[in-house]
Symmetry: C2
Subunit: 170 residues, 2 copies
């Protein structure tokens, strides 16, 4: 593992406010696994009917501040969006409800208009399964991500809209 | 508002680690609105097919620590579970996906086996709509909550199972 770390050291990209883990290999484009993503706050959720997966969309502090203040067009540099994806299952005690079963992957968008200019201002990364295997064989894997996100180019390449989370009366 | 606050002052229940808002009326059983719930971390998500609502289940620090360490049978005193509920809508840019539309309510379970002995160890509260109107006409409203949760009595009255959120390889 030390060998891996030293080999990629020249490629490691850092992001403000995001701690990284030395135990998970970085994505092929050099993006490090954000080890603290499970502590991030919620931006929204979604459910894909086509492939029966459910997800929560989280944000680092910069992303949460942007989402809560309506500063998402565009999202600011330093914002990181994380999506945790699970296969769905029926809830045993409430058959008309579905809930997460197995962890599928955690995937991320890192906003940096300079660093990620070649992928439209966002750096993409995904880690699959409980072993968090980095997705993609080489750095060109992100062209697939950009292609899929191009239909929402006018929403700064982001599908998610922040869900309302009222905490005080208007 | 000051009048309301002083009238209920004798009934206000406090909970460790939970800040409360003076601008939202407490539930009829005296439970205060946890004003910081939007900053809590994720335990799971769920989707009710029957009434087309989606939800994220959050936890205060005590609940998150319990969930991550498997200490949920029973949940420890001081744990608070929060559920944020939205009506669903189709995602315009991904028709096979659904996402939150309007905020329906935020509802909570406060674990305290002594204080809430009369409702099986949990204090229940719900605030509806963007104005966060407290649910229930009087303190007996919680019998409805307990009744609905009784099918999961053997799971400490909790429907939610913590969703796996891998952050390190096993």
């Amino acid at each position: 593992m030390h060998k891996t770390i030293s080999l990629v050291a020249g490629l490691i990209l850092t992001h403000p406010g995001v701690s990284v883990s030395a135990q998970v290999a970085p994505a092929p484009n050099g993006i490090e696994f954000p080890a603290d993503y499970a502590d991030w706050r919620v931006i929204s959720i979604s459910h894909r009917i086509d492939n029966k997966t459910m997800r929560v969309i989280l944000g680092n502090d910069i992303a949460i501040n942007a989402a809560r203040n309506g500063h998402t067009m565009p999202w600011p540099n330093g914002a990181v969006l994380g999506k945790v994806v699970w296969k769905q299952m029926s809830e045993k005690s409430w058959p008309d409800a579905i809930a997460p079963e197995k962890f599928v992957h955690a995937e991320f968008m890192f906003k940096d208009t300079d660093k990620y200019a070649s992928t439209a201002g966002w750096g993409y990364a995904r880690w699959k399964g409980p072993k968090l295997k980095a997705y993609g064989n080489n750095a060109t894997f992100a062209t697939e991500c950009v292609s899929c996100h191009t239909p929402v180019k006018d929403n700064d390449y982001v599908f998610t809209k922040p869900a309302p989370m009222y905490t005080m009366p208007k």
